[in-house]
């Protein structure tokens, strides 16, 4: 009896659902010059949950747009929405909103407000895909949002000064975000993460940013892989974070007086593998970073491959290739609590008598001159001078000042594939 009653109740419910057509059959609202609805603001006022707003090609000088319904914004033939260099453009305050195929331009720079082209404010399940952004203060800004996807966007800005420039993709207090396949060019930080958890940053191309290509703060358990960071004025910085996975990235040409390929500050239990560091002023800089695993990376033609500050401990450097760097490793201390093993060093001068592929004599990657340079930068003037080579050789024979324990006891004889 009870079973029959509940069946009847269910069918009545289903019938009701079919009757409320508004919910089941969402409308499509088309915005355009030749359509009934001319402005996006109008369309946003009319829409209900589940609607699709199609924006046809054209120029829409509209700012301060707010989405409060669960809708899709779809651009046809790449319409341009412009903030006219004054205001923010689109703010999303509803869950499950999709934005794609739209060109956002000229969100205005401000010293008071974080004006963004697209801002997600405390939402979940949103997707920002296949859009273009040009000359915005902030490109895409996510605050307190979960489970969102930011994919295949092209975000380009051309400001000269950091103060007039915001970040390309900015995340603040977010969880489970996927940032994939974006190109970010010329912002302050390409991608900026603060208080973010369990997010994935993959296949992005971040270049010519005024500060960092990727900037990580207090963002535990995130992963970034297969990204390229090129020509950023200060490279990539990862700070105050634990359990970060960084792999298969390319750090290239981050070259300048205060540039780093990868700057690690207060990073613990991270894993850095299969990355390539090519032609950076400094490949990896570690400060206050402990228990990280650095393996199978390539360091090629950098000024410094690794700068390991004395307050970093228990890091493992294994199976890396060091090729043609001006300095392989430097440190500012005579003690060392890190492990180097089984790396290939192109500066290694030892021999392999038993032909097992591992050199018999240990390799000291820290030279006396690198120690001098670390403490007194102008002495770099004497780089590659005959005298300096003599000093290095003398120190190698009788180590006095260089850390005796910073040594690779099992250096590989050939390039590790």
């Amino acid at each position: 009896m009870c079973l029959i009653m509940s069946r009847i109740r269910n069918s009545v419910l289903i019938l009701f659902l079919f009757l409320s057509t508004d919910f089941i059959f969402p409308k499509t609202i088309t915005v355009g010059k030749n359509e009934k609805i001319k402005s996006i603001k109008q369309a946003l006022a009319l829409c209900e949950d589940g609607d699709v707003i199609r924006i046809t090609g054209g120029f829409y000088p509209e700012s301060n747009l707010v989405v409060t319904k669960q809708i899709s914004l779809l651009g046809i033939d790449l319409p341009t929405i412009s903030g006219s260099r004054k205001e923010r453009i689109l703010t999303v305050r509803a869950n499950n909103v999709a934005v794609s195929g739209i060109h956002f331009a000229d969100a205005g720079a401000s010293f008071v407000k974080d004006n963004a082209a697209v801002k997600l404010d405390s939402v979940t399940g949103c997707a920002i895909e296949n859009n273009e952004f040009s000359n915005n203060f902030f490109g895409i800004y996510l605050g307190k949002s979960w489970n969102c996807k930011i994919r295949n966007n092209k975000i380009i800005a051309s400001q000269k000064a950091q103060t007039y420039s915001g970040n390309g993709i900015h995340l603040w207090y977010c969880k489970n975000i996927i940032i994939e396949g974006n190109t970010i060019d010329g912002h302050r930080d390409g991608i900026y993460l603060e208080f973010v958890r369990r997010s994935l940053i993959k296949n992005n191309f971040s270049t010519r940013n005024l500060r960092y290509g990727l900037h990580f703060m207090f963002s535990d358990s995130c992963e970034y892989s297969h990204n390229t960071f090129q020509h950023n004025s200060a490279g990539v910085a990862v700070m105050f974070t634990h359990h970060v996975q960084m792999h298969s990235n390319l750090f290239i040409n981050n070259w300048g007086g205060a540039s780093f390929g990868l700057l690690l500050k207060e990073i613990t239990d991270g894993k850095i593998y299969n990355n390539k560091f090519v032609r950076n002023t400094c490949g990896i800089y570690l400060e206050g970073s402990n228990r990280n695993i650095v393996e199978h990376n390539l360091f090629e033609n950098n000024g410094w491959a690794i700068r390991l500050m004395a307050n970093s401990m228990d890091n493992n450097f294994m199976k890396n290739n060091f090729v043609g760097n001006s300095f392989e490793v430097t440190t500012n201390n005579t003690r060392n609590y890190n492990t180097f093993a089984n790396n290939y060093w192109s500066d290694y001068q030892g021999y392999d008598l038993n032909k097992d592929g591992i050199g018999e004599t240990p390799h000291h990657p820290v030279k006396l001159f690198s120690l001098l340079v670390e403490k007194n930068r102008p002495t770099l003037l004497l780089l590659r001078s005959f005298f300096v080579e003599l000093l290095n050789t003398a120190e190698k024979v009788f180590p006095v000042l260089t850390p005796e324990t910073l040594v690779d006891k099992y250096p590989e004889m050939s390039f590790i594939k």
């Binding site: 070259w255 300048g256 007086g257 205060a258 540039s259 002023t281 033609n301 000024g303 410094w304 043609g324 001006s326 001098l372 007194n376 930068r377 102008p378 002495t379 770099l380 003037l381 004497l382 780089l383 590659r384 001078s385 005959f386 005298f387 300096v388 003599l390």
Partner: protein, 263 residues
């Protein structure tokens, strides 16, 4: 003028006939060809050639120069019995030695590089700086060696002095710079260190090469100052003048001693 021409002609002939110049040229050929066939990386090759510039050229120029004057003593005395100006003779001897040495350096390193020229597409200016450095160093150290040989009758003393000067310019001078930079590190030493380097031709030609691709970014502020100075037209002119002064001044004093010398 005619006398100068025929002296140079005879000396160049004489130098080319002797075996050591052939060996000198072959040394450059083998070394640079070997380097080039080992690696495709033009930067590595340039840095190794830079070491030759800094060590081999000054040493050989100094030693050959002194030995050359000592060995040609009889010939000099013979020529001086003729109505020939001493100045002409001295300059003739100088050019007769330094020009073949420069040619052998250019030929020895230049030919292998020409064969592998496609590796050096982006390294044009660095290569030019390298060659300018090598040519100047030959002229400079031959002229220094002539000064040494004319001032010292004693062969052993002259040779010893030549070797000491080589050691001084390649190593000790840099040691002094290092000590100065360490002791006075609290002070801004950018300008003094530019002056230091310009005063030593070996340091100057080394810096002209490595500033192009190695250290400017690593040095931060100091590097920027150096790059600004040595990379500018004015800096280039000052460097060239400094190198030229290093050629001319020892030669001038050598000439003075030679003119007054009682053989």
């Amino acid at each position: 003028m005619n006398a100068l021409k025929s002296i140079i002609k005879y000396q160049v002939h004489d130098t080319f006939r002797s075996k050591w110049l052939v060996v000198y040229t072959l040394f450059f050929v083998v070394l640079s060809y070997g380097l080039l066939s080992f690696t495709n990386d033009s930067n590595k090759v340039i840095l190794s050639l830079l070491n030759i510039n800094m060590i081999v050229i000054p040493l050989t120029s100094l030693i050959f120069g002194t030995i050359y004057l000592y060995n040609n003593r009889d010939y000099i005395i013979l020529i001086l019995s003729q109505p020939i100006n001493r100045k002409t003779l001295f300059v003739g001897l100088y050019l007769g030695l330094s020009v073949p040495m420069v040619l052998s350096f250019l030929l020895g390193t230049g030919l292998p590089i020409l064969i592998y020229i496609r590796n050096f597409k982006e390294a044009g200016t660095v290569l030019l700086n390298l060659f300018v450095g090598g040519v100047f160093e030959t002229f400079i150290f031959v002229s220094v060696s002539f000064l040494i040989a004319t001032m010292n009758e004693n062969k052993m003393k002259g040779l010893g002095l030549a070797i000491f000067l080589w050691l001084f310019f390649t190593a000790l001078y840099d040691g002094l710079i290092l000590i100065t930079l360490q002791v006075l590190r609290e002070y801004p030493l950018e300008i003094p260190s530019i002056i230091f380097t310009i005063l030593n031709p070996i340091d100057l030609s080394r810096l002209l090469v490595i500033l192009r691709f190695d250290i400017s970014a690593l040095m931060g502020y100091t590097g920027a100052v150096f790059n600004q100075f040595l990379g500018s037209g004015f800096g280039m002119i000052v460097s060239i003048i400094s190198l030229a002064v290093w050629c001319v001044v020892p030669l001038f004093f050598g000439l003075k001693t030679f003119s007054r010398k009682d053989f």
